[in-house]
């Protein structure tokens, strides 16, 4: 992605609309991008009025909000709009489970996430007052998309004035070919882990070499665990403000039954998540 000119936000008239919109406006202003709101449903005076009311209280937009009113299937409408309008970033609000302090992505948002062709920002804590983004966690998987993802994260960090970024290399257990049985294999595995860690660090460093990130402090961290799931756990433990992930390669029906990678994150959002396409 690396450029954000057009941002799309879905407008559903729910109690969360206000913080969602406030957040979207702030982000749009930070990137100096055009904000487009799409509402799936009929246009009527009451809705227009409440929208106008919220906009009145929010920060002024650099470029005025463009609102699209269209009826139809929400998933299709939103997906179609992202294509038609050449959207760079789609902002979706997440839901929070009652009582439990856990967030998840609703079924509509989930479908959109799977199919969208643009990057997606899932917000779990939109807020009316600005919350500073202090720590971004980025995946550093060995994947072609990772370079793009890291570049985008740096872009976000710059615009959100975030000074700390951690690139997490998830090393799956299967890559660690030594199984720990006794002291000897434990020593071997510890050495191998160190080696894998250095290799991964080196790989990420190579990517970072060509990126200018000024005064952002970027650290790398290797974690050993199940792909996709562990990084969410890490972001939660470290209380990151934004988790940046590669877009999933292809999601089949089997992946939903046996969730992996991004699906884990979607079922239990640790923080705000940016999925880079």
């Amino acid at each position: 992605m690396q450029k954000i000119h057009k941002i799309l936000i879905g407008i559903a008239f729910s109690p969360n609309l206000e913080p969602n919109l406030f957040e979207a406006i702030r982000i749009a202003n930070m990137f100096n991008a055009e904000l487009i709101g799409v509402h799936v449903g009929k246009k009527n005076a009451r809705k227009e009025e409440s929208l106008a009311k919220i906009l009145e209280q929010a920060d002024a937009l650099n470029t005025p909000l463009k609102t699209i009113w269209q009826e139809g299937e929400p998933v299709d409408v939103i997906l179609k709009t992202t294509v038609d309008e050449h959207i760079d970033l789609l902002i979706l609000g997440a839901l929070k489970k009652e009582k439990l302090l856990k967030y998840y992505v609703g079924s509509i948002a989930r479908k959109i996430t799977r199919k969208a062709t643009c990057s997606i920002l899932l917000l779990i804590k939109p807020s009316i007052i600005r919350q500073f983004c202090k720590h971004i966690v980025v995946n550093g998987l060995k994947d072609d998309k990772t370079e793009e993802t890291i570049k985008t994260s740096v872009l976000f960090a710059k615009h959100l004035l975030c000074k700390k970024m951690t690139i997490v290399e998830e090393i799956s257990q299967s890559e660690l070919q030594v199984k720990v049985n006794d002291d000897k294999s434990l020593r071997k595995s510890t050495i191998l882990k160190e080696r894998l860690k250095n290799r991964e660090d080196q790989r990420v460093k190579n990517i970072l070499k060509d990126i200018s990130y000024d005064d952002i402090s970027i650290k790398t961290q290797s974690i050993f665990g199940t792909r996709g799931y562990s990084i969410g756990h890490y972001a939660k433990v470290k209380r990151a403000d934004l988790l940046v992930m590669n877009a999933p390669n292809k999601v089949g029906i089997l992946d939903r039954i046996f969730p992996h990678d991004i699906e884990y994150i979607l079922s239990e959002l640790p923080t705000d998540v940016l999925i880079v396409k």
Binding site: N16, K96, K164, V180, D183, Y229, V237, Y264
Partner: protein
């Protein structure tokens, strides 16, 4: 070079292992005979298992000081297999059971290759305890009759137990001299077993108790044989029956019933018990090992499986790792696997040289040894121990025990698992916690500041313990590890017990293992293994059972002369005035340590509001200073997390301290006052210590390191740092 020296050590240690193997064989001989008899198999089958086990496992096994042979746990299973499969014909039943033993050996090999040898990790700890107790009762119920000279007692375990008083009366009143004398030897043997450990005589202790029984009963026979005019009063039926030609009479398994349900269920029971007994023993023996080595469990299980197959084909019982003989081995300075090998060789020698003498041992004497083992497995102390962990554990324990006695082992362990799960659901009042999360990889491990940090999410119980275990096993025991359960809603007894084991192992090997994040949890009892359920936020337990962390904090508070209050309702008025808490709301403070205006505490605070609310717990140090300080924050250079509170202020450089300026980020409003405050001594102090995040208001200092709860070790370091800092500040 490493190789050569190991070989040299090996050679050098041969004498002590030879001796140790000899002592162990003295126990293994009577036990092998006794266990085989109790299983309803020919006595020699127990010796075959010990010999094959000793040789095979010492050659290809993965543990170091364990002794292998026939095990207690299998007695009940094999006895019932022989009875059921034999259908009245004991010898035929024995041949069918041999086939079951061979198959279970193959299963064990497979489990070993699949790295699932540790079957015990999949079962709740209390259910396993219940099962072992049931086995103990089973052995006890059957053998007490044999001990009293009565071979004819038959029936289920419960029936046998009911017959015990009747059996005692019969024994006293009997006019059958053979039975009476056999019973007398049995009772006397039991007394030896019971009082052996209490007689602290060096020479007496040279020979293990079971061997005393053998020596005395053989001696008695010889007395009657050589000196007494009357014949030996005990009938031949009540003496051990060994084949006249030991080498030429191996039984061969009969695979005729391989497809039948009874056979399959026998195979499953045997495999289950063999695996669980071996695993428990291997783990226990590892804790005894002087050289602190870690056994390769799966390799050992494979070796045990192979030994079982061979033993089965030769007419022997299962081979498992046995705890009692292994501990004797360790106590006699057995240092490597050769002790196990020598123990097998000595057994071969005994059986070939002393077969005639062994035939003089009355069955009742061997039964006495087993009565004692049975009693130990099911002793009331064990039940008390389980109860002290929590009443819910007692329910699990008793249910497993009763069902195992009344039906079979497989049903017993199944009931144990189901009841444990139901109790967990009831305690949590939430079944979805388990259903939704059981398959999720809930453990995260990474290294941070040279420490292993493990975070566990959702819940941690016997259902998903292997996930946690596989991570923890990757940490070298010489390192420092922190396990954080603060994202966990529920931690069960099996996991708590295992965490305790890890703590011990790490301690032994010079590392450090600590569990954090349970201080807000509720537990049913004082016991460190008690299960813990995390309480909903904000509810402050006024009093409760201290967690291990809290106990350790209490301990160090005494060492450092701090006063400690785990459930304090202390309010630090100043806290919200720190920049750090400008955007964070303090919910509660707990685990407070105080001394001279200093306090260390765990603080729970929240960020954001409504749905964005996040609850965080962290450990901090606060100093109430006597003199007025300039407001400032001090941080490691390059850490930007906290800076926003002082946005707009620049890094203040102190003249003539380039190193300090490079490493620290100091900011604050009045540069002049801050410069004056940072004296050379203070700067030197900061430079030579760990870098914390430090904030000052006019009257206080706040010190914190990570935004999480600190381990006890970290608290100690923090306390030391804080106290030294206080001294320096008050001085200058």
């Amino acid at each position: 070079m490493q190789k050569k020296s190991t070989f040299k050590t090996f050679l050098g240690e041969i004498p002590q292992n030879l001796f140790s193997g000899f002592v162990v064989s003295l126990i293994a001989l009577p036990l092998g005979l006794g266990l085989a008899l109790a299983s309803g198999a020919p006595p020699i089958s127990g010796i075959i298992a010990a010999i094959v086990g000793g040789i095979v496992v010492s050659l290809i096994g993965g543990s170091n000081v364990t002794i292998t042979g026939p095990g207690n746990g299998l007695v009940v299973v094999i006895l019932s297999a022989i009875t059921i499969l034999g259908d009245g014909d004991v010898y035929q039943g024995y041949l069918f059971t041999l086939a079951a033993i061979v198959i279970s050996g193959i299963l064990l090999i497979l489990l070993g290759f699949l790295r699932m040898g540790a079957l015990g990790d999949f079962f709740p700890a209390s259910a396993i305890q219940g099962m072992l107790a049931a086995i103990g009762i089973g052995i006890f119920a059957k053998q007490i009759h044999v001990m009293l000279g009565n071979l004819d007692a038959k029936g289920s375990i419960i029936e046998l137990l009911i017959q015990v008083p009747e059996g005692i009366i019969n024994f006293i009143k009997t006019d059958n001299l053979s039975m009476f004398y056999a019973g007398l030897i049995g009772v006397f043997s039991l007394l030896i077993m019971v009082f052996y450990s209490k007689i602290r005589n060096r020479y007496f202790q040279l020979i293990p108790a079971p061997m005393w029984i053998v020596v005395l009963s053989v001696g008695l026979y010889s007395y009657f044989d050589m000196f007494s005019s009357t014949a030996y009063p005990i009938h031949k039926d009540l003496l051990i029956d060994l084949p006249s030609d030991v080498l030429g009479s191996f039984a061969f398994p009969d695979f005729g019933k391989i497809t039948q349900f009874d056979f399959i269920s026998a195979v499953i029971s045997i495999t289950l018990i063999a695996s669980i007994e071996s695993l428990l023993s291997i783990k226990a023996v590892d804790k005894l090992d002087h050289l602190k080595r870690r056994s390769n469990v799966n390799k050992d299980i494979r070796a045990l499986g192979l030994a079982t197959v061979i033993s089965g084909f030769l007419g022997g019982l299962n081979v498992v790792t046995v705890i009692a003989r292994s501990s004797v081995n360790v106590n006699n300075k057995g240092s490597n696997r050769s002790a196990n090998f020598f123990h097998a060789l000595f057994l071969v020698a005994f059986i070939l040289l002393f077969a005639t003498e062994l035939r003089k041992i009355p069955l009742s004497a061997l039964a006495a040894i087993l009565v004692f083992t049975g009693y130990k497995l099911a002793s009331p102390e064990n039940i008390k121990k389980v109860f002290s962990i929590g009443s819910e554990q007692l329910i699990i324990f008793l249910a497993t025990l009763l069902v195992t006695i009344a039906t079979s082992l497989i049903y017993g362990i199944l009931v144990g698992i189901i009841i444990t799960f139901v109790i967990h659901v009831i305690i949590n009042k939430d079944i979805f916690l388990f259903i939704k999360n059981i398959l999720k990889p809930n453990v995260l491990m990474f290294t941070e500041d040279e420490k292993y940090y493990v975070s566990v999410k959702n819940f941690s119980s016997f259902l998903n313990y292997t996930k946690l275990k596989s991570k923890l096993d990757q940490i070298p025991e010489t390192e420092e590890a922190i396990v954080d359960f603060s994202l966990c809603d529920f931690v069960d007894h099996s996991v708590m017990e295992n965490m305790n084991n890890y703590t011990e192992i790490f301690e032994r090997k010079g590392g450090h293992f600590e569990v954090i994040g349970l201080d807000d949890s509720k537990s049913g009892s004082e016991h460190p293994f008690a299960l813990r359920k995390i309480l909903p936020k904000q509810r402050i337990p006024k009093e409760g059972v201290l967690t291990k962390r809290q106990k350790s904090i209490q301990k160090i508070s005494e060492e450092m002369r701090y006063s400690y209050d785990a459930f304090s309702d202390l309010k630090i008025e100043e806290l919200p005035s720190f920049g750090y808490f400008k955007t964070r709301k303090v919910d509660k403070i707990s685990n407070v340590l105080t001394k001279n205006d200093c306090s260390i505490f765990d603080v729970q605070f929240s960020e954001g509001e409504m749905i964005a609310k996040q609850v965080i717990k962290a450990t901090m140090f606060h100093i109430q200073t006597k003199k007025k300080l300039p407001k400032f924050t001090l941080d490691k250079e390059g850490v930007f997390e906290y800076l926003l509170h002082f946005a707009g202020y620049k890094d203040i450089d102190i003249n003539e301290h380039p190193d300090f300026n490079r490493r620290f980020y100091l900011s604050g409003k009045s540069e002049e006052k801050i410069r004056a405050f940072f004296t050379d001594e203070l700067i030197l102090f900061f430079e030579s210590n760990k870098q914390y995040h430090i904030e000052a208001t006019n009257t206080g200092l706040l010190i914190l390191s990570n935004e999480r709860l600190a381990s006890v070790k970290e608290i100690k370091a923090l306390a030391y740092f804080g106290a030294s800092l206080q001294k320096i500040i008050e001085k200058c």
